[in-house]
Symmetry: D2
Subunit: 348 residues, 4 copies
């Protein structure tokens, strides 16, 4: 009953098999492997973006930091939410990679509204050398609280950014879960909605450690390549990144794994609704659940071996004093039986 | 007949098997996995350094840059050779990670002498705010030209550094090849010789992508951890780094693989000595050979499918005009038959 | 009638005279001038801090950035208010000089409370490698809205910082105005109140361009010297910085100039209270006034040649729709007659 | 008898007078002062460059670092000589301001040859992500050894850079001395010779502390402005920088002061040629002399109160063992009588 994070589970068997298959003979290093050529082709197809620049790195923080550093100047500020992973969970990697850009926090929660974004942008006069200069907007899809931006919401946000010629980056650590939940195409959720660059996470959805970074404008490709190498994120035995990603993309494995995770979370949420004293802190839309429960229920769960974290989000006013917030994350591998057992214990 | 680099070959079967075995169930993320505890214990045993701080990263450039950034202040200069990997092959990753440290080039080749190091240090007056401040010394063992520092040479260099309280880092991308070639212990080649921090490379010697970084003074551990996270080099699914390293260390696999590579290179060197027109540009001591051959011989080899690179090292004056320098690297997997065939073709 | 800023007025005659006097013969460069020795002695006396490390730079942003970079690690966050000069007016110089530190905004206005500081500190778990690490606290005295921290308020804030071993820096761009207004000693407002480092501004109070930076713990001196040189802020003809500061300190000129500015602002505030429709946005405590006036009054003032800025502070809800906020700053040189004329015009 | 440096002497009376004149009433801050408008116009006339972007900073290191940071990307290397001020005397300010660019040392001395530059450029393959990327060329005119590049030499160097689309920056800390010595126009020595950006130093030639930075392509203006502010080098009371520069440019004061300095150095060099045992280490071409003298002669000079430094340049093999190298710098203020007395003492 492990719901700690989708980075605690195992890799998909197809991914492991692909690694084994890739482990034969010699291959050119540093991204010149034959498998990477296939990855590039496949991702361009999936994104309906034949010109896109496509890269692989091994961690989500690398994807975010390198992409944002390519989009932002050191004297600019990045617009993100106060709960954004780049703000709260990366030990200031974006500040490091950009050479000292600022993160301006928009709104109060995990989702940004166009009005809040417009206000934050408007506060910084262009042409005033004293203030932070306006820079890229960073959105997370699925958000850090398990929410989704609808396609319309994305379009409105990117329009607000475009009004000021600001690029928009999408942190897609859970990109697959979002596409699966929205039932849209990758193109619809990205460049068709005005996104300039995106990461497509593999690590949290059944890979060992691989994230794709896609720039829809290939003009930014070479700078990204230099930043990746200089950041020590260019793998010599790159074939093992390629192999993971290729297997992940084959036969919609990425979507199937995400659907499994989302379905499990939905089942878990359904069950939780009957648990006495439960309160959902966020409407579950993908594979994460934020809810509060009475302390006694938590104790019962932990005594039974359930593993999960306290929520990163603040516990709002509505809860009784003895309630504690939790974050439950379902990955592709969690079994329905474990979910049902969790619910049973929670029901008491 | 691939001698392009030891980062072009496959991973060791034991390492692949360990990855598969590690892929079961849930594990805490970000280095809290059970396998990492075993790696830490094992590396401390191997280095006879029970207090050492031990970390894993996925690339050699990450190991070098993060370790040097931990040892150097931004206003200091790192002393290294003109052929050092950190100088020639990392797109200025050390400058990036240190926040603008300089690399002062010592001597002319791939090996540093104590006299040259002393002279370079002496040129920078301590207490003069205008000049680069003296910083760490970076040595590569095996060097970029396939040479070895003897234990005495290491001791003399670290003594020169210690005279000025400068720490010494060893880039051990081919650490195993060096230990195998010298027949010494890891402790003798590092802290017993005055080395403060070292990387022990797995990637070039049969892993997919893993390098250990060891600080013999654990006081530097926390800063390294912060730098690793901030550099986006802390893996969430860390167990897959741990599993590689643990398998690599088990039963001296790391040494056995290195000995295989070194032996193959020795066989190749022996055979090459009979090739008409050959000239060795460096005395082969580990798994790399730098030699020049007549252009016609190169053409014959390439026509037969041999793959290898032009040497990074300069072609010295002694060669006839039609000679070209080459770099041949043997990894653990190269077969004797391929070496023999290479020689046969070269012999013409 | 210029109230635009205290950086728009002329230098004090005594300062100009000192420059002229200093312009004789040869002097050692880079801070080794005889006048700097006198500055050092004088500042140590004034601060009752015989061990303090004392430096001069030419701009307030340099003082702030270099001091904060000396106190903060790149992976730490600096705690300051949302209106702090370091946050809003320095084009991310602190981020640049620290190598990517973050600024965490405490509270809503220009003054920080101990409770808000404690909450902001508590939000970042020490020992968690993923989050911003706790770093120095930066206070501005006089604040950007013209407020003062009392000595008790300072002591409470530094105590909150000391609970977590965090150093406290005071941006004293208007240090003299604060000392003059509080009627305390420099020591009482700094190290006796728990401040670790402070700038004492000259530029806004009658110098051409000079700020002292004082570290009460001399252990940080050498790093600051290196950062100052590396930041290109060490003057070769340093005597001209020394001469300004020495004249500024002589015979309490710094305090006399500040008292003049504060008195003028008090006169202006008194007069403004009778202006129809006026509303003070902040209680004036030093040499700055933030107030809102009807648009028609502004138009009359501008037509008469009055120069002043729109307030940086937000216009709060209580004002009628046709009101606009202004910032009026008095420097030492503004004449009473100009203030009286300003009031007369405002009265209509 | 002070020949320590041209940053040890006093400021020109005209410059001091201009400061006093500028010290009246209120002026807009941060470069919007009326005097700066006149400086801009004047410099564009002097350089015959009506579109040039023109800025003032207070130190030579700021001019160099900010200009190079505007021209270089962090992953590029700057080509300069081993004796370049940016390499030897700025505590790695260029590395800091560029965010980690490297300095590649071209040749052995203070002057770069086109062949050496071409070779250094050629060594770095464009498009290879592993190596330092080619960046700007930095020349110093007058060089650090008191030499001059002829206009033809400059043209040949900038042509070599232009072959690879690399910009060329001229460190003109002693720009006036060079123009005076070459008898050319500022335009001929800069953009007509292929220079992209240049500093025109005031500090070493009779100002208190001011350097102009000129970009002949105004497209780089805004980035420079942001870098200057972020580097804390934008002066609030900017009029005092403007006033210095304007007085310096008026009536060719800059050239007259430089001619005075050059003439004094020529007189000193003529006299020195008769001193027993003297050897010139560099042919004096502007206001600096590098020569070696017997230790006994040095002792006599120092006993008489002469002040000068040991040369930064290496003492070459030709000197007797008891000789020591010296650097003598003449500024505009040094009197002929002092020079004659120095010679007399040296003659013994």
């Amino acid at each position: 009953m492990n719901f700690a994070s989708d980075n605690c589970g195992p890799a998909l068997p197809e991914v492991m098999q692909a690694l084994a298959s890739a482990n034969a003979g010699f291959q050119p290093s540093y991204g010149a492997d034959a498998l990477m050529e296939a990855v590039r082709t496949r991702l361009r197809e999936i994104f309906e973006a034949p010109q896109a620049a496509v890269y692989l790195v091994a961690t989500g923080t690398a994807a975010n930091s390198l992409a944002l550093a390519t989009l932002a100047q050191p004297w600019q500020t990045i617009f993100c939410t106060p709960l954004a992973h780049v703000q709260t969970d990366e030990c200031q990697a974006p500040e490091f990679y950009t050479g000292g850009a600022k993160l301006t926090l928009v709104g109060e929660g995990d989702k940004m509204t166009p009005a809040a974004l417009q206000a934050a942008i408007a506060r910084l006069s262009p042409g005033d050398v004293h203030v932070s200069q306006r820079g890229p907007v960073a959105l997370t899809q699925v958000t850090e609280m398990g929410h989704l931006y609808t396609l319309d919401e994305l379009a409105a946000l990117t329009a607000a950014a475009a009004d000021h010629d600001l690029p928009v980056y999408m942190d897609g650590a859970r990109f697959a879960n979002a596409v699966a939940a929205l039932g849209c195409t990758p193109a619809e959720m990205t460049w068709k909605a005005g996104i300039d660059a995106v990461s497509l996470g593999g690590t949290k959805n059944g890979c060992l450690g691989v994230e794709a970074v896609i720039f829809f404008d290939p003009a930014q490709a070479w700078e990204f390549e230099l930043r990746r190498k200089r950041g020590a994120h260019l793998f010599s035995k790159h074939r093992y990144l390629s192999a993971q990603m290729l297997a992940y993309l084959d036969d919609d494995l990425w979507l199937r794994a995400a659907r499994a995770a989302n379905d499990r979370a939905a089942r878990l949420a359904r069950g939780l609704r009957d648990v006495p004293g439960v309160r959902f802190l966020a409407e579950p839309q993908a594979n994460m659940i934020f809810a509060s429960l009475p302390r006694a229920t938590h104790q019962r769960l932990h005594a039974s071996g359930a593993v999960y974290g306290l929520s990163d989000g603040p516990l709002e006013g509505g809860d009784p004093a003895d309630h504690l917030a939790m974050r439950l994350v379902c990955d592709w591998s969690i079994e329905e039986a474990q979910i049902d057992r969790f619910i049973q214990i929670a029901l008491g």
